[in-house]
């Protein structure tokens, strides 16, 4: 069984929700980012989104944009990131999802990427700007290597489209909470409950909610409806301020603690 599916099953058996965290590989340099990822995993992160920096991140807010620029300035690329994943895998059983825009993956070569990622111990990909209609080639290759393609669903996705997109989905569904880019927001989307219950009618897979969640209270509120909570910008900012361990513990306590 894939580590992603296994993790959700274990957490469900324990009555817990999953904490999924995003960190940009190479921010502010490869070594520091690796240390940060280990810190996050040691302090309660259940699933790691390993972020590949891109020059033109059209779906990201200021925090992740800046992290990507720092990583690119430090000379990080996909070869180095896959090696980083392999090092993490030696000491961690947590699922690792490669989080990227399409072009760095396309340029690396989809076939080679799937082989190398599987060898590095990566469990799935989440490709921000590769919608269902453009994903067939990559999905086919990923399946061959038992990698899971994480399907994104937006608040703008109509139920019949969700059903079509999720028919072949695996692992979990990533529900984007807000219309907008990534980044910390003061309040959680008001319509999360309706969207989630509607989404439950389209799939039996666990649902992760992300975009805009930054603290324990928001995480707890989102987890009332979702099986997992994704935190990105807030972790990137916490890592930058040297408060990553504390931040992860806060979020994990909100999701795992009674």
């Amino acid at each position: 069984m894939n580590r992603i599916t296994q993790t959700f099953q274990t957490l469900r058996d324990q009555g817990r929700k999953a904490l999924i965290g995003y960190l940009t590989a190479g921010d502010p340099d490869l070594k520091t980012s690796e240390r940060n990822m280990r810190v996050a995993l040691a302090n309660g992160l259940d699933i790691l989104e390993l972020g590949v920096p891109f020059s033109d991140p059209t779906a990201d807010g200021p925090a992740i944009q800046a992290a990507g620029q720092r990583a690119l300035a430090a000379g990080v690329n996909l070869h180095l990131i896959l090696a980083l994943a392999a090092r993490l895998r030696r000491t961690s059983k947590a699922p690792i999802i490669l989080f990227s825009y399409a072009n760095p993956l396309f340029r690396y070569g989809y076939a080679k990427l799937c082989r190398d990622a599987a060898n590095a111990g990566i469990d799935g990909f989440l490709v921000v700007d590769l919608p269902y209609e453009e994903a067939a080639e990559l999905r086919g290759l990923m399946k061959h290597h038992k990698l899971i393609f994480i399907q994104l669903i937006a608040p703008t996705t109509a139920p019949e489209r969700s059903r079509r997109l999720l028919a072949a989905a695996d692992g979990f569904v990533y529900y984007i909470l807000v219309k907008g880019v990534t980044g910390v927001r003061k309040e959680l989307a008001a319509d999360i409950k309706e969207h989630m219950s509607q989404l439950r009618t389209c799939t039996d897979l666990p649902i992760a909610a992300g975009f805009g969640i930054s603290d324990g209270a928001q995480a707890r509120a989102a987890a009332r409806h979702a099986d997992a909570v994704v935190v990105g910008s807030a972790l990137v900012e916490a890592a930058r301020a040297g408060r990553l361990a504390k931040k992860v513990r806060e979020l994990a306590a909100a999701l795992h603690g009674g």
Partner: protein
């Protein structure tokens, strides 16, 4: 030659829709609305009337006699898009998209801009239709094209400075896409070139095809035959796609697209995505792209802000691969020389973008011979570029 993309917006392997899922429903909705609109006689009638009475169409096809004599060969005709309202072909597209936005019940237009021509044309259409307007523009371009920033503000648009990356067109477009995700319900994103996700490349080409349709009728009337060659500059490629579209099936009409070679292709400081790029995915489409080995997008360089973009419309990539259009490139220096030629010989100040097409005509005129007929798409006027040209000349005198 296939003229329309497949159902998902692919021109051969290019194009498509590489965007976040949040935008997919809006793009699918836009595609349907566009398809219905262009089949609606009332929509087309209204578009035609506005282009005629407001934008000044048809634009003239002018025989440049003194330029022809100076270049010593082919008879050179200029398609005078510089005479359109707001000074460039961009208005053809923004009127079309604004009319579509109105039909879809949207209250707000937003756009990216490089040289400012598309921003001005969008702000103009917004004023005409009584809509709010947000323009995203790189701070480097705001510096280079200050008069256009003022024009947009006078027209009632809000200009958002974009500081990320190189602070030019590429970054303005990235920022516009980010802003659109947040406002996708009430805002119509007016893309200014045959770039971006489906249906933009074919929609913008459709709205710009009026250039080619007119030029074809005009050259037949003036010369009694089809031209031997059409030359147009290519940044994203909307003016070129517009004029080429009417001649694609005329196998004997050679189509030439001119990219910006900047300081020269070998220097790496250029904007020749087809000439010196590779296949990649940017701003919602697969096409040729300036990028490094890791798939990071490289910065383009051109003296012309409108060509200063590291990508190109996906249909151009397809035309390049199928050899229907021949793509070449022209340096900053050659474009400036052509700017001088047209200004002094014909009393027409061309935009630096169009000066690239003129420079290519200069290279080819003699070899084509005196019997040949060439149409150059004079896509815009050069008033916006004067400060920039003066600064360039000053810098090069000092060197």
């Amino acid at each position: 030659m296939k003229q329309e993309p497949d159902a998902l917006g692919h021109f051969g392997p290019y194009g498509g829709r590489y965007v976040a899922e949040t935008l997919m429903p809006a793009l699918i909705n836009l595609e349907q609305a566009f398809r219905q609109a262009v089949q609606d006689p009332a929509f087309n009638k209204r578009l035609h009337e506005i282009l005629r009475d407001y934008a000044g169409r048809p634009s003239p096809l002018y025989f440049a006699e003194r330029l022809t004599k100076a270049y010593g060969g082919a008879r050179l005709y200029l398609k005078r898009e510089d005479l359109c309202h707001t000074g460039a072909h961009k208005i053809n597209n923004t009127i079309g998209q604004a009319l579509l936005a109105q039909r879809m019940g949207k209250q707000r237009l937003m756009a990216e801009t490089g040289a400012g021509q598309h921003g001005v044309a969008t702000a103009t259409a917004a004023a005409l239709f009584g809509m709010a307007c947000d323009i995203f523009m790189g701070t480097e371009d705001i510096r280079r094209q200050a008069p256009n920033v003022q024009r947009m503000q006078f027209l009632g648009a809000t200009v958002y400075p974009v500081r990320s990356g190189t602070a030019t067109l590429k970054d303005a477009m990235s920022e516009a896409m980010r802003a659109w995700v947040a406002r996708v319900d009430d805002t119509f994103y007016v893309i200014g070139s045959v770039a971006g996700p489906h249906p933009y490349p074919s929609m913008v080409r459709t709205f710009q095809s009026v250039i080619g349709t007119e030029a074809r009728a005009q050259i037949l009337k003036k010369t009694g035959r089809l031209p031997d060659m059409i030359i147009a500059c290519v940044g994203g490629g909307s003016n070129a796609a517009g004029i080429f579209s009417a001649f694609l099936k005329d196998a004997k009409v050679r189509l030439v697209g001119v990219e910006a070679a900047g300081f020269g292709l070998k220097t790496g400081l250029h904007a020749a995505s087809i000439g010196a790029g590779s296949i990649g995915i940017l701003h919602g489409a697969k096409s040729y792209l300036l990028q490094d080995d890791d798939g990071q997008v490289r910065n383009a360089h051109s003296i012309s802000a409108g060509l200063d973009y590291p990508g190109v419309g996906p249909e151009h990539a397809y035309w390049a691969d199928t050899h229907r259009v021949k793509y070449c490139s022209v340096t900053d220096a050659a474009a400036l020389r052509a700017f001088d030629d047209l200004t002094r010989l014909e009393g027409i100040l061309p935009a630096l973008e169009a000066s690239h097409a003129l420079a290519e005509a200069r290279k080819r005129a003699r070899a084509l011979g005196r019997k040949a007929v060439v149409i150059i798409n004079l896509s815009g006027r050069g008033d916006k570029d004067l400060d920039n040209i003066v600064a360039y000349q000053k810098k090069h005198r000092e060197h």
